[in-house]
Every structure is written in structure tokens, then in C-alpha cells.
């Protein structure tokens, strides 16, 4: 959607350098040596499953949680030890965290009062910001009289009204139902465009991450697995975890043969250009997205240069604009291919098909655990 301007502005920004967090009484770090540069005006998402450290990282940026190691710099200034109220960051919480005893307008005015802005100016600013989130008619209501979506919009207004250095959002859509979530997602994207502010967004929802972000940092086990634009992460996942967490994929396990430029799998070998020589002889996984898999009836005629493997069609699911074709390969690997609706289907469930794909659209990543593990069923994360 809005990842047009990813040009790395090298000026001011937020720099996370080797930051770790070990909570008191635990031995395993919640955040483990994370380094990340966030450009001015960027929309960056911390994506990961629960317990991956993404929220802890955000809390450290906001100053709610102290850092155990490393530094956080904002515009070249170390803020690691600074109190939250001095950091000038906006924070939006999953459970809104609106002040229940203050009206909507008073909630939004709160940060301006803390900054000792003159009353008349506060009133104007509050009205303007409430208009931005389409809540100008709700100024005098108490938060408890608003719906969840409206409350979160108040929280957004409250967090941007004082033009903070950046807006941090911790699963802001997590408590909302699907329809509201989509709506608010568009509003957040619009606010990012209109305000030009740095947005740091935490979510476990890959769909949110893909549609909103300029860049995504995928968190796993306290570490950042990969940072990149949504399309980089989707087309060129650097690890099996990223491939499985972000979108669906078919994952062929095999052994890397760097000299021949092949990933040798059970029953076939996949051509793999630009293989890292260091991986030679180790276990590797070839990852192909469903829309990149071509299906040919029977032996088929595969375009030259493409990889191919034969598979049995296990199921065909109609999803409206496309068919999802479930596949089982000779080595037991399961996967799925996408067939745009309107195109004829090459087979019915139970029949053999030839599956082919362009090696350019496949990513080879190291197999977790190193050695060429026996081919196992890898389930794609999410749908």
C-alpha cells in the first residue's frame, strides 16, 4: 500500500543499538541484542508471535521498561535512561488506556496541559485533532460512552495532538473486531500520510504488517530475524521462520550442493541460483509462495529452466477469487498452490500433477537445526 517512500533518509531518526532486556528473576532475555535504525517519518512494524519480545522492545522505547544493555538514541541523543515523560513520544495501547474520568476533549487536552500550552490554543488544537479522527461531535462524552473503535481513535488523537517525535502503537487493533480493524487500519495509514510522523507499530498480525508498513522487523525469541520492506520479506524471506510467519509457502527440505547450484531434495533437485557457498553440504529449505507454483496435468510441459516436482492433489478449496490447491509431494512435503479463478483446474483431488516454478521466485534458507533433516510437514503460518 504505502511503501512508496522507503528512501533511507540518513538524517535524524531513532537508533536502537544492541539493546537487550533481561527481566528480574529470569535468565533468558526477553529482548536479545536488537539493533535497528528507524528513519524519520518511516512506518515500521515489529511483527512476531506473542513472547517474541516485540512489546518489550516498544516498552523500552517508550521508557516504561528499563534497558538491560545497549542504547536507544533519538536524533543522536541517548535516551536510554530518560524518564518516559521527557521522551516526547506518543503511545497507543491495546486497551486504549483512556482516562475514564475525563471527557474525550479532556483526554486529548491532557498532553497539551502538561506542556503548559495556553487554554485557547489547547481548545483549538483539540478540536482540530478530533476532526482528524472524525470524532468532533463526541468531545464532551466520557470514554465509556464510546465504542471500542471510537475509543481507540480518541487514544490516537491524544497520542498525536502534541506532535510527538514518534508514535508507538502496541497492538492497537487487537481488541477490535474484524470490520473495525480494517477501517481503523486505513485511518492509521491515512494519519501516517497526513502527519508524516514516524510510526512504530507492534502486531502479531501479518496482514496488518504487510498492508501498513514501510518496513517490517520480524521478531522471534527476542531477536530480530529479518528487517525489510513487506515485499522483500514476502519474496525473499531470510529464514524459515520469516517465511512461515509471513504468508503461506511450500517448503522443500534438502541438502545444499553449492558447486552444482542445486538443492538436492528427495526425488528431485531444485536449481538454485546465487547459492551461498558457505551453505555447501548443509541442510537447506527451498521456499516457494503459492502463487508462484504452476500446475501441469500429468507429466506436463514445464518451461525450460524451471524447477519441477510431481505431487498429488489432496484438495481443492474455492476461495472466491482463486482456488487453493493442496499438494502432497513424493517426500511427504505438503504445500499449496494458488490458481486464479477462471483458469481451468489441471486435476481433481487424488490425481498426479507436475508442479513447476521459476527458481528466481524461490528462496533458499538454512534449515533450522543445520543438518538435512528428514522432510517433515511444514505448516504455513496464518492464512
Amino acid at each position: 500500500m504505502s511503501h512508496s517512500d522507503t528512501s533511507t533518509s540518513t538524517g535524524p531518526g531513532i537508533r536502537i543499538a544492541g539493546v537487550s532486556k533481561v527481566y528480574h528473576g529470569t535468565s533468558r532475555p526477553a529482548v536479545d541484542d536488537v539493533s535497528l535504525d528507524i528513519a524519520d517519518g518511516e512506518f515500521i512494524t515489529f511483527l512476531g508471535p506473542s513472547g517474541s519480545g516485540k512489546t518489550t522492545m516498544l516498552s523500552m522505547l517508550a521508557g516504561f521498561v528499563s534497558v538491560s544493555g545497549g542504547t536507544i538514541e533519538i536524533d543522536g541523543r541517548d535516551v536510554s535512561r530518560q524518564k518516559p515523560h521527557r521522551r516526547n513520544l506518543g503511545v497507543v495501547f491495546q486497551q486504549y488506556a483512556l482516562f475514564p474520568h475525563m471527557s474525550v476533549a479532556k483526554n486529548v487536552a491532557f498532553p497539551l496541559q502538561q506542556r503548559r500550552m495556553p487554554k485557547a490554543q489547547i481548545a483549538a488544537k483539540v478540536a482540530e485533532t478530533l476532526k482528524l479522527v472524525h470524532l468532533e461531535d463526541y468531545a464532551d462524552r466520557l470514554p465509556s460512552m464510546l465504542s471500542g473503535g471510537q475509543q481507540q481513535r480518541v487514544a490516537l488523537a491524544r497520542a498525536v495532538v502534541y506532535q510527538p517525535r514518534a508514535l508507538l502503537m502496541d497492538e492497537p487493533l487487537g481488541a477490535l473486531d474484524r470490520r473495525l480493524r480494517d477501517q481503523l487500519q486505513r485511518e492509521i495509514a491515512r494519519m501516517h500520510r497526513e502527519l508524516g510522523m514516524t510510526f512504530i507499530f507492534v502486531t502479531h498480525d501479518q496482514h496488518e504488517a504487510l498492508t501498513l508498513s514501510d518496513r517490517i522487523a520480524v521478531f522471534n525469541d527476542g531477536k530480530v530475524e529479518q528487517v525489510g520492506t513487506p515485499s522483500e520479506l514476502y519474496e525473499r524471506p531470510g529464514t524459515l521462520f520469516v517465511a512461515q510467519f509471513l504468508g503461506e509457502s511450500t517448503c522443500f527440505r534438502g541438502t545444499v550442493d553449492a558447486t552444482a547450484g542445486l538443492l538436492r531434495c528427495e526425488g528431485f533437485a531444485a536449481r538454485a541460483p546465487r547459492l551461498d557457498a558457505g551453505l555447501d553440504g548443509t541442510g537447506g529449505v527451498a521456499i516457494v509462495r503459492p502463487e508462484r507454483l504452476e500446475l501441469h496435468p500429468g507429466a506436463g510441459d514445464v518451461p525450460s529452466g524451471h524447477n519441477q516436482a510431481s505431487a498429488t492433489v489432496t484438495e481443492i478449496v474455492y476461495v472466491g477469487n482463486h482456488h487453493q490447491v493442496g499438494l502432497r509431494f513424493g517426500d511427504g512435503t505438503t504445500g499449496s498452490a494458488m490458481r486464479v479463478a477462471g483458469r481451468s483446474l489441471p486435476a481433481v483431488p487424488g490425481e498426479e500433477v507436475t508442479v513447476s516454478w521459476d527458481p528466481e521466485h524461490q528462496s533458499i534458507v538454512p534449515a533450522p537445526g543445520g543438518a538435512s533433516a528428514s522432510p517433515s510437514v511444514l505448516e504455513a503460518a496464518g492464512a
Partner: protein, 300 residues
């Protein structure tokens, strides 16, 4: 939620005279409260009515007892002293209980259990044992006197004085303050303080602007409870106080048991009851008007 409409009528509907489709269960509910109602009627409402009745009729019909109360020079002094003591005790209890209750919301479940037990401990020890313990502590040559003597301050004998009574009352009243405070504070979202600080408020101002107002309903109910309880306190003032500085409960007891002035005692009791009801009324008005919490709003 999106439950089918027309189910779940308001629970508040009182039994009796409801329209036709009264369900068996609700009719049963009326019977369930019968024993308690009967008990209250016989042992509370009737004696209370009798006391009030006698305050107007004994020894002669009219407001004689009440005018005497105003002019005897003792009753009003004692009443005022009782009210002031009640306010001071409630305030002191609040000051001690507030940080305690706040801490209870911040520690883990085990710490919280321990803190609850500690606060309830006085409840589980005999009233007399507790009061006599204070007697020992406060008497001449008691622990408190000795401790002050050791640092060169002599003659700190709390026994027989209003401060002596107040100190013991504060200790006895602590649970009545801690528990309402805690239950109020428990419902306050901890993230609100984070939110306030992220918006630019230093920790103390976040507390003053956000946490304190939200904890007020608990403060109000704890304060009222303790205040009302101290007004009618008898055992502690009787044991630790002195007849020269007696509180209302002692005065009533004296009038009944020594002077056999049932009408006068009744009048004093009625005034005490009126003061209590007035306090409750003021507090309930205040609680409704301030609408400090969602609770207050949705309850309206």
C-alpha cells in the same frame, strides 16, 4: 452484548406486586430473605423505634430531652468531640491505609495474600485482647512511655486521653479502610499511569491527575465506613479513655446504666443516628455528582 432481547429483566425489581408473569424463582427469593428480615424487624427495627419513641416521651412527652441535650453543656461537647475524633481517626487511617492498599495492587498474588492476612489479623484476635494490649502499651511505665523516656521525653502516657483512644481506634479500623480502598484500586488500569507519563506528565502528576481521582470512590467508602464506625465505638474509649474526656457511646452508657435516664440516652442515640445518616447522605450525593468513575456513571 448481542444476547436475545427481552430476556434478563433488571434484577433490581423488588419482589411482591410484580406483574403477572412472576417466575417461581423470583417468588422463592422473597422467602429466602424472610429469616433475615424477621430478625432485623424484631431485634433492630423494633428496639430502634422504641428508643426513638422514648426519647420523645420519657419522662414526659415533647422535645424536652432534646432541649436538655442542647443546654446541659456536656452532651454537645461530647458530641463534637466524638465527631472530631471520628474525623481525625478516619483521616489517619486513610493516610496509613492508602499506600498500603496501593502496594497491594502492585505486588504479586503471594505478596497480596500475605498483606491481606496481615491486615485481617486484628479481626481474628479478640476485641478484648487487642484493647488490653493497647492498655499495657499506653499506661504509665508502659512500652510507649518507656520508649519516649529513653530519648528524654517523659510523661507520654496516652492512656486516659483522646489521642490514646484514637491511636488504638486507627489500628482497629485499618482493615475497614484498606479493603474498600484495595477493591477500588484493583479496578484501575495500571496502564493509565504509563499512558499519562508517556503524554508528558511526571510520575507524581500522573498520580495526582489520574490515579488519585480514580481511587476517590474507594477513599470515600472507606472513609465513611471508618467514620461511622468510630462514632459508635464503645469498648476502646471505655477502656483506654477517661470519663472526663468521654465519647458519645460512653456518655450514652453512663446515662443508661448509672443515671437510668432512658429518654436522654435515647435522644443522644437518635442524634447520633441522625448525624450518621446525614454523613451517608452527603457522601452519596457527593459520589453521584463527582461521577469519578465509569461505575458511577453506569449506575445512574
Amino acid at each position: 452484548m448481542s444476547a436475545p432481547t427481552a430476556s434478563a429483566p433488571p434484577v433490581a425489581a423488588t419482589g411482591g406486586a410484580g406483574p403477572a408473569p412472576a417466575r417461581p424463582r423470583r417468588r422463592m427469593a422473597g422467602w429466602f430473605i424472610l429469616p433475615a428480615t424477621a430478625l432485623l424487624l424484631v431485634f433492630f427495627c423494633y428496639p430502634l423505634a422504641f428508643v426513638i419513641w422514648r426519647s420523645f416521651t420519657d419522662p414526659s412527652a415533647g422535645l424536652g430531652n432534646y432541649t436538655a441535650l442542647l443546654h446541659d453543656g456536656v452532651s454537645t461537647t461530647v458530641l463534637v468531640r466524638t465527631l472530631v475524633t471520628g474525623l481525625i481517626v478516619s483521616a489517619c487511617t486513610l493516610v496509613i491505609a492508602y499506600p498500603y492498599a496501593y502496594t497491594m495492587t502492585r505486588v504479586g498474588p503471594r505478596g497480596r495474600n500475605l498483606m491481606t492476612v496481615v491486615v485481617l489479623l486484628p479481626f481474628w484476635t479478640s476485641m478484648m485482647a487487642r484493647n488490653f494490649a493497647w492498655y499495657m502499651l499506653e499506661q504509665r511505665g508502659g512500652l510507649i512511655d518507656d520508649a519516649f523516656s529513653a530519648v528524654g521525653i517523659h510523661g507520654v502516657v496516652l492512656l486516659g486521653s483522646v489521642p490514646g483512644v484514637a491511636v488504638a481506634m486507627v489500628q482497629v479500623m485499618l482493615p475497614f479502610m484498606v479493603l474498600p480502598l484495595y477493591s477500588g484500586m484493583e479496578g484501575i488500569d495500571k496502564r493509565l499511569l504509563d499512558a499519562a507519563t508517556s503524554l508528558g506528565a511526571p510520575r507524581w502528576r500522573a498520580f495526582a491527575r489520574v490515579y488519585l481521582p480514580l481511587s476517590l470512590p474507594g477513599v470515600l467508602s472507606g472513609f465513611t465506613l471508618v467514620f461511622i464506625l468510630t462514632l459508635g465505638f464503645y469498648v476502646t474509649p471505655a477502656l483506654l479513655g477517661s470519663p472526663q474526656e468521654s465519647l458519645v457511646a460512653q456518655l450514652i452508657a453512663t446515662q443508661v446504666s448509672k443515671l437510668l435516664d432512658f429518654g436522654g440516652a435515647g435522644a443522644l442515640g437518635t442524634v447520633l443516628l441522625a448525624v450518621t445518616l446525614l454523613a451517608l447522605f452527603v457522601v452519596s450525593r457527593f459520589a453521584n455528582l463527582s461521577s469519578t468513575t465509569e461505575k458511577a456513571v453506569t449506575n445512574d
